[in-house]
Symmetry: C2
Subunit: 110 residues, 2 copies
């Protein structure tokens, strides 16, 4: 999804949150500051390329901060911004909604 079709804010958010990783990364980052390698350990199936790309996307969107500590082994920390923290409950609400609807069986009949 490289370009937008409307100027709607909803489409813009979905452009950022779409895909497997963004919400998962936010989920792990709400536990606190994480380093690149921490996030790779948290979900081992992401490739380092994808992790780098997704983190950049979240950074550009103002959801995470990237802090580089220059030193010997080179250390970078990722953390949710205040805006990112405000996003967390909204994502959780989606998860809750899904749990509720799938618990209710087939909603098209009920």
């Amino acid at each position: 999804m490289k370009s937008r079709v409307s100027r709607c804010p909803i489409e813009e958010v979905m452009q950022i949150l779409s895909g497997r990783w963004p919400t998962l990364l936010i989920y792990y980052l709400k536990q606190g500051t994480k380093r690149f390698s921490d996030l790779r350990r948290d979900n081992p199936t992401i490739s380092h390329k994808m992790l780098a790309l997704e983190l950049r996307k979240l950074e550009d969107a103002g959801i995470v901060t990237r802090t580089e500590f220059d030193g010997y082994p080179l250390r970078v920390e990722y953390e949710l911004t205040p805006a990112g923290e405000r996003l967390v409950p909204l994502i959780d609400a989606l998860g809750d909604w899904w749990e509720a609807t799938s618990d209710a069986g087939v909603p098209s009949i009920a």
Copy 2:
């Protein structure tokens, strides 16, 4: 995104809502019952293949109902389920969040 990496409900919702179309279709369907061709007119850049696929996905997820009226030119109507209507405010909240954070300028400095 064909398979899941965890059993997390958030990942499951994102599997359904990811991409350009799902939220847009829900947006138009909250205006009321729509037919296939209505939805194509609402957003002209979707192909009929994509529209059919996305509608099936939303149907399987219990977000929309598909009602087939068999007749001469064949008529099918799509409508939000109660669960789908409960989802609408959550999506709107994401849009509002995005508007608020992007209005605030660059959040990484502010």
